[in-house]
Symmetry: C2
Subunit: 338 residues, 2 copies
């Protein structure tokens, strides 16, 4: 059924991790090919001990392909997805382009796995990184007590802006320490030893596109647009892993003990929470891991039915590559390694 795979954007930051995960998690397939834009075509990729040449993506390059995992910019996904679906392939797309299309399900396997069956035009989207980790955290609370409101402030790593974002942080930090300036490519303002309170472009009533993704994508994934969400998205000088300060109000009051138990027993969540011992999730410690890490769980001091907590996850993994590969696993029906 899904025996002939293609990975599009295999040479990017997320694409490379997707390859590692396909190998590590032993995703079964008969053939695999690696596609990219013209610029990266011809480069070599080592995968499971074999060397592959990255092919330039054309409509014809999808001939015979049954399942595509795409890690590309929005505009690239707009173009290649129809090429693939017209040839009968199913596309698991990590870009933002198709996510809010009503014919495209937006899937986080721990949260709404059954939505994979709603791929009306042959495309399944994986959510934005800042949304994915949040909906994983919200889901057990929503199922148990119905989430009515979310206030979230993010602390987002530079890897969210791609390899260039990570390089910019390192180069900017080196320059700053040497008393020099750095010409940032991925950011409008210096990010080393600084904060930028804008991710994405102005979108809706003073909110950025990144912030509105956290509202609209969460509504779509949870299938509930009555949840009120106020997001603030901030870029911080951290290389990898997004962190989020999340306050949740629920219809039924949850105790801290109950929230902790709900988090602990939910797949894909690891609770790391012992303030007295200085134990909580931090980005450097969560980088390279697939789970959503939650700590600092406590009762909201400002509402009768609120819980607040700190949530960290690797935005390149669960926020992108891991989630896409998990969707592919769901499709293939081999969830043993999830």
């Amino acid at each position: 059924m899904y025996e002939h795979l293609a990975v599009v954007g295999a040479t990017g930051a997320v694409g490379r991790i997707a390859l590692d995960l396909i190998a590590e998690r032993n995703l079964p397939f008969k053939t695999i090919k690696f596609l990219s834009s013209k610029r990266s075509a011809g480069s070599k990729i080592t995968f499971k001990g074999q060397t592959y040449t990255v092919e330039e993506m054309t409509p014809e390059s999808f001939n015979g392909v049954e399942l595509v995992i795409g890690s590309t910019p929005d505009e690239t996904a707009r173009d290649f997805a129809p090429w693939a679906t017209q040839r009968g392939a199913l596309v698991v797309d990590e870009s933002g382009y198709w996510r809010m299309n009503p014919k495209v399900p937006l899937v986080v396997p721990e949260v709404n796995p059954d939505d994979i069956h709603k791929a009306e035009i042959g495309i399944i989207s994986s959510p934005n990184c800042s949304t994915t980790q949040m909906v994983v955290a919200l889901k057990p609370l929503h199922d148990a007590a119905r989430v009515t409101r979310v206030v979230v402030s993010t602390y987002q790593a530079t890897s969210g802006a791609g390899v260039q974002g990570q390089d910019d942080l390192i180069a900017g930090a080196r320059a700053h320490l040497a008393g020099d300036t750095h010409d940032y490519k991925a950011f409008k303002h210096p990010i080393a030893f600084n904060l930028i309170p804008q991710i994405g472009s102005p979108k809706h009533e003073g909110y950025t596109s990144e912030e509105m993704k956290m509202v609209w994508e969460t509504h779509k994934i949870l299938g509930d647009d009555t949840i009120k969400i106020c997001p603030t998205c901030i870029r911080v000088p951290v290389s990898n892993c997004h962190s989020e300060s999340i306050l949740v109000e629920t219809e039924r009051k949850l105790s801290v003990a109950e929230a902790r138990e709900l988090f602990s027993s939910f797949p894909g969540i690891t609770v790391v929470d012992d303030l007295a011992a200085g134990v909580y999730p931090m980005p450097q410690q969560c980088s390279g891991k697939d789970d959503v890490f939650i700590g600092r769980i406590r009762e909201d001091l400002s509402s009768p039915n609120g819980i607040t907590f700190w949530c960290v996850s690797d935005n390149l993994r669960k926020g992108a590559a891991t989630n896409a590969v998990q969707i592919a696993e769901l499709l293939i029906g081999s969830r043993a390694t999830v």
Copy 2:
């Protein structure tokens, strides 16, 4: 009345800024002396073109002193303040030790200037840095529409942990970039290219001492303990200036235009808010300035009467030295330069 000054802790990060401000703002006095712990005594300070020798602080060193500005750790303030007040001096103290004492007013000159007259035991406290900038932002909204609830997530600079905190960030960043490790002195965990979701010690129902300061000190300064406040305090790899993502609910609905106007016309606040042009407060740009900077002002998408915004201020200046010197100015009655 307050013609004979002493500055305690004049060699610390905040104390040095206090000296600069006393000079810049032309605080009037007849004599000034500089006091410190035994360790720093004997060191030289240049102030208004003259060289002074820092004296070791003893009870007798406060003889003849009328006004003291103290920038010391809590334990030092516990000891020296009574030495000074017993000799008739008034103490403006930046430490945390006296703040919640019911006989000690906690003053932010833009917010509750009249409280300087309530110094029952000769001590006036200046609030914690994360509280000061927030109450300046809350005050105009509270006066106009009554604040009922605050949800705040902070992004706090390493200078909040003193000179050692700033040195740790730089040394840690250098080590990280060189592939080495750094033995952090001011932090429990690495802070360079990382986040630490703990400031202070565990204090109250899972909240840290820093977080509870934002609740209790805000109540005291605004004279209103009915305001519900949920704080999350996070250390970020920024050298100086604390940033805060603040959501405020008010009894009467405020429009964004009204909130912006209230902020703009309030003393000590500078509005920097044009998302489309990429204009908003950032810590590197606010460092060395005395104001509280506010941007990203928008309607809360999650409540009927909410406003959310981004607030940045120099924690060593308005969060400490500037506020203390402003209190001294109020006392002396020379507010011309505020």
